[in-house]
Amino acid sequence: MSIPVLKFDAVIVGAGGAGLRSAIQLSEAGLKTAVLSKVFPTRSHTVAAQGGVAASLGNSEEDHWTWHMYDTVKGSDWLGDQDAIEFMCKKANEVVVELEHYGMPFDRTDNGKIYQRPFGGHMSNFGEKPVRRSCAAADRTGHAMLHAMYQRNVKANTQFFVEWMALDLIRDEEGHVLGVTAMEMETGQIVIFHARATIFATGGAGRIYYSSTNAFINTGDGLGMAARAGIPLEDMEFWQFHPTGVAGAGVLITEGVRGEGGILRNSNKERFMERYAPNAKDLASRDVVSRAMATEIKEGRGCGVNKDYVLLDITHLDPATIMKRLPGIHEIGIQFAGVDCLKEPLPVVPTCHYQMGGIPTHYSGRVVMQQGGDHNAVVPGFYAGGECACASVHGANRLGTNSLLDLLVFGKSAGDSAVEDLKAGRAHRDLPKDVSDKTLARISALDNRKGGASVSETRLAMQRTMQDHAGVFRFNDMLKQGVEKILEVEKAARNLEIKDKSMAWNTARTEALEMENLIEVAKATMISAEARKESRGAHVRDDAPDTAEFPNGRNDAEWHKHTLFSPVDNSITYKPVNMQPLTVETIALKTRSY
């Protein structure tokens, strides 16, 4: 079967913040650049980012990139690579100012500078007091960013392939990456994108969890493709959770609800936070509240048929106060929980929000993997940036407003590195003879299989398993069972059946292909989480508690290292954390406390 081949200098998969930023570098360098996206670029999940982008511009008060770097290292619980963190924090001002020049409508101060506001974890003078570092465009920062960068790309003649799904990474025998196979949704046609540089900017995979704030589009397509091509996934045990998402929907309920007097209750109607945090109670930190909720659910005091959520009660508050101070909450309750929160409590559960791990990259945006004794050998022709990549700047936990910064800095650096490599003479390499065989075999299996597993049931089984066994607070026995269960789910995910065999706009097929990506991420997460026997950042284990010997349960002697999950044989290896910044002194290991 002859498959059409489209030849480009560079192909970028994903048109969210990182993909658009990369594309600007390539197109403005005069390179023929294709961007593939499952949706129109301005509908990428970057649109959901409201908080802002961090940069030590110092417009409102004194600030410095070294302070930002310190905060990021500390936020990462010292798992972030200090060369990459220095690179990102130092580049922040440059990428924000560039964005301003692209037309991004940042909020302004009275004297016309970019207005900056404080954000959790961002401090001045190495952790002394909060600093105003976040640059925002009202509450639509991600939205405004996508529009500004999309327009810049149109001007630069980037070629967009909208409503196309990339299916598999093309690698030759020597390990070079030569592009992707992809499907045009409108026709179902499979096409080869043959490129000198391939950049992944596919976002996160938060849909592996039952409760997730991520839009449905976040199915980890880049991670799935990388895994199928034999590239390991780094630090996949680290996922950031938010304590209060609407159970069953994932939609966020702002922490302001507890700030206004909302109370968390278990199935006995007990205000359980009094036991976990006698002073702060429901206003304890996110971590403490999330762990308490998870413990109540694990110990059988959850609510509902499956006893898998707790209740957030605001029925004792004055309805006028709720409507005035918490706009939208009443509607969210009705729309997503079927509950009138003025009369009944809201069902809530700790909810997955952000993926810290991903495809291992150098801070230049080049994808790296182990070869022989080298932990960081470059995979030629392959680059990644944004949430799908692990540079690693977020380490074990991410600071708010560093995600938009990540996608700008590493989107740009991936683009710059690709330009550099192409200008240095990287040519199109011959496509392997079996270039599309694996992709066609996957499609054919889906189209012809009878008696296979249902996509929606398999996805639900995966999401339930991840939520129950590798959620915000982790238990040794649950993780061990979780590994067995997710491997069972994997068998179903490799045996999916779809009823609709049509070519055009076959959403059943697309969802099945997404499921094949999700399961790679779910498996990597579960196995990596089970293996890491300490608590660090967002990975918190019941059997690695806070002790004098191991503050916060962190065990640097044994576990100060990056996890690498190999999809080839489900094995785990580790590589050292890079503690050597580019120009400044190492930020030495210290207990993380706020």
Partner: protein, 80 residues
């Protein structure tokens, strides 16, 4: 609506930038869209074409729309 047009619309509803819009539109497609007449379906397609925040503000009652055709379907979305 032709099958192909419906499937295209479906994809554009079940893969949005905001989770809130994903859920609201998916639910409506599964339970409500079939009962719309041709004019209402056209209005729904127009709404689905909107930016995520604009659409979410309409669905969640934080904003209103003047066009009575669209306002009618927004009301149905709010109730679904």
């Amino acid at each position: 609506m032709e099958r192909q047009d419906y499937e295209r619309l479906r994809w554009r509803c079940i893969r949005r930038g905001l989770l809130e819009v994903d859920i609201a539109l998916t639910r409506f497609l599964d339970d409500g869209f079939d009962q719309l007449d041709d004019e209402e379906q056209k209005a729904f397609v127009e709404l689905a074409d909107m930016e995520d925040y604009d659409l979410w503000h309409l669905i969640s009652g934080q904003a209103d729309i003047d066009d009575p055709r669209l306002a009618h379907v927004v009301n149905l979305l709010r109730k679904s």
